[in-house]
């Protein structure tokens, strides 16, 4: 038999070639044991997470008589959007009976300025900490990061007093300030790490070109940082939209954010428990973060990965 290392003569028979063993790409089997395990596990986990959502959607589309039958997994026999309309427009939360719509607009008025304000400040913070090494920068950074580990509960009451003293207690702007401050440590860390991972020579080149603190930030650094801005927006939008604690503490009933209103609808003790309305209200409240994730999924992963490289 020929040595495998020696190329066969041109006229060698097929059988002889076969005897030399494998050649070319390795064949792949769709139903290998590995694939079955992998996709099986993924399928089970996906079902596990999607089942509650399915129940919610299905229930919100049923009328109360149908719900009382108790088949929570069965699809609705008669689809009705009544519960959704009620949850949005007429459900009673405490004194008001105009549904979640009031809370939705409150949440928008809280989230948008909070997100913009906190990201604007934190990105400049992170840029200054990463690129303009001032005296005491490290100490400042440590103090800021420690802030991320202090439990919120400790600070609730002092902040109530501070807001009362400056006359912002119960107003939306008070809550906006609170959200902006609490977002600061984690966002600054995020931006600092991202800017620190950018090549130092880029910053130097911009300085030789004559750009100053703001020039470099606005014209060089910020345009290169879309992924990390997207990450920050997602973190802040979902975090602030989902917030319940600050909302319930620092606002009044007519300025309650959507989450607090949702709680009031679901946990109301008088009357019949309208499961379909509750489900619809919950989905409505969760819709905003859900949409944000769906739109930005890819950028989000990219930004998280980019920011995590350098500590």
């Amino acid at each position: 038999m020929a040595d495998p290392a020696v190329p066969l003569p041109a006229g060698a028979g097929a059988a002889e070639r076969e005897a030399l063993g494998p050649r070319g790409p390795k064949p792949r089997h769709v139903f290998s044991r590995r694939n079955i395990f992998l996709y099986g596990t993924l399928f089970v986990v996906a079902v596990y997470y999607l089942l509650p959502l399915y129940v919610m959607v299905v229930t919100s589309l049923k009328g109360m008589p149908e719900i009382r039958l108790g088949n929570i997994f069965s699809p609705p026999l008669e689809i009705t959007f009544e519960p959704w309309v009620k949850a949005w427009a007429t459900a009673c939360t405490g004194l008001n009976c105009d549904g979640l719509s009031r809370g939705f607009w409150n949440s928008v008025r809280i989230t948008v300025p909070s997100v913009l304000l906190s990201i604007a400040i934190a990105s400049v913070n992170g840029y200054a900490l990463a690129n303009w090494r001032f005296k005491g920068a490290d100490t400042f950074f440590v103090i800021l990061i420690v802030g991320a580990f202090i439990p919120y509960q400790v600070m609730i009451y002092p902040i109530v007093i501070i807001l009362r003293e400056i006359g912002l207690y119960g107003s939306l702007s008070g809550l906006v300030i609170v959200h902006s401050i609490f977002g600061m440590p984690i966002l600054t860390l995020l931006f600092r790490n991202y800017f620190a991972s950018m090549p130092e020579e880029l910053f130097r080149a911009a300085r030789v070109d004559g750009a100053g603190f703001w020039g470099i930030f606005l014209r060089i650094m910020a345009p290169m940082s879309l992924p990390i801005f997207v990450v920050a927006i997602i973190l802040q939008v979902t975090g602030i939209w989902n917030d319940f604690l600050f909302g319930v503490v620092y606002t009044r009933p007519d300025t309650y954010p959507m989450t607090v209103q949702l709680n009031n609808i679901v946990n109301s003790v008088q009357g019949v428990k309208e499961y379909n309305v509750n489900m619809a209200a919950t989905i409505l409240t969760g819709l905003v973060p859900l949409i944000v994730y769906f739109i930005s999924g890819k950028l989000f992963v990219r930004g998280i990965a980019a920011g995590a490289v350098k500590g």
Partner: protein, 364 residues
């Protein structure tokens, strides 16, 4: 030479400390107008740091820096009249080539038609006109570096600073761009300060080379002088490829070098001082200064040995043998076919050798 035109960059007693670590120590350097000076040294010798100090990107601890007769010690980089080219190109990735070139001018508020004029000139000199509307990501390494040079060019400055501009390129491109940089210098006649760890770049480009180690300039001289008469053993060993041969031994009565049964007459060696030193010393001789075969017999010093190994390099061949128990290499023409074990006759003229003090490493 350019030295007659006056001083372009003058560094006086410059020191730089990071905390307790001293990076540059009372360094003095005068660069003549239009001169091409290369800062050469191993990594960590402070050459890039010195360049950053000249650019104003690092605050210095002591001393003064003058550019064009103006004290710029406390000036911002943009006010120093310098343009800088970085190793990683440092192009702004979100801008087109044109915007990259014009960024500094736009920051400085230069009128639009003036910007267009300068970009057109730089693009023509560097032959990057077809690339102007592309983003840096769509350029090759050589093209990027050209754009980076262009960015310094449009600033219309007196002094160009290069920080290892060719280190990220492959060998072929490196030698091409090396020639282009030299041509550019011929054309522009600007002062250029160029940092590299590549001795070929240093030898080929420089009017003068400053060899640095540990934050101190070891020798500042024309390439040929540094090559032929290195001031100490470090400079001798750092320049030259293949490296210089070193033989440790004793200097006797200032006229003979002795080591393990070998004695080299030094009558023809040009000592630095007038007095004849004695004691432990090191003899250095470059592989290309050792003669071989018949030619060796007429040399003031000659010896014979046998070939240890042969390294063919294409253009010539490096032969390793032993002298006084130590490895010694010399160059022969590529056509010679020598094999391990062949007897060889070799010799050299001590006038071309270098003698260093064994303790201090300084040239004798």
């Amino acid at each position: 030479m350019a030295a007659a035109n006056g001083t372009s960059v003058s560094i006086q007693d410059l020191s730089l400390n990071f905390g307790a670590v001293s990076v540059l120590q009372t360094l003095n350097l005068d660069v003549a107008e239009g001169e091409f000076i290369v800062l050469l040294g191993p990594s960590g010798c402070g050459k890039s740091t010195l360049l950053n100090c000249i650019a104003g990107l690092l605050d210095i601890s002591e001393g003064r820096i003058f550019i064009k007769g103006k004290n710029v010690t406390w000036e911002e980089p943009k006010d120093r009249g310098i343009g800088m080219v970085f190793q990683s190109y440092a192009l702004y990735p979100q801008m087109t080539v044109e915007k990259n070139l014009s960024f500094g001018l736009r920051v400085a508020g230069v009128p639009k038609d003036e910007i267009a004029k300068r970009i057109a000139r730089a693009a023509e000199i560097l032959q990057i006109e077809p690339l102007l509307q592309r983003k840096p990501a769509a350029l090759s390494g050589g093209q990027r570096q050209r754009v980076a040079i262009g960015r310094a060019l449009v600033r219309d400055v007196d002094v160009f600073l290069f920080d290892e501009p060719l280190s990220n390129l492959d060998a072929k491109l490196r030698s091409e761009l090396r020639v282009e940089i030299k041509l550019l210098h011929r054309k522009l006649q600007n002062t250029m300060i160029y940092v590299t760890h590549d001795q070929i770049e240093a030898m080929t480009l420089a009017d003068r080379i400053a060899v640095m180690r540990g934050g101190v300039i070891q020798q500042l001289d024309a390439p040929q002088t540094i090559y032929n008469r290195p001031v100490n053993r470090f400079v001798a060993g750092f320049l030259g490829s293949p490296a210089m041969n070193f033989l440790e031994g004793q200097l006797e009565a200032g006229s003979t070098f002795k080591t393990d049964g070998v004695s080299v007459p030094l009558e023809r060696y040009a000592f630095d001082g007038t007095e004849r030193p004695t004691g432990a010393c090191v003899l250095g001789i470059r592989p290309e200064h050792i003669a071989f075969g018949e030619a060796a017999k007429s040399m003031p010093f000659s010896a014979s040995g046998s070939v240890e190994i042969v390294e063919p390099m294409g253009s010539d061949t490096l032969v390793w043998t032993k002298l006084g128990g130590r490895n010694l290499s010399f160059r022969v023409e590529a056509e010679r076919t020598l094999r391990s074990g062949d007897p060889v006759q070799f010799g050299f003229d001590p006038a071309r050798a270098s003698l260093f003090d064994a303790a201090t490493g300084n040239r004798l």
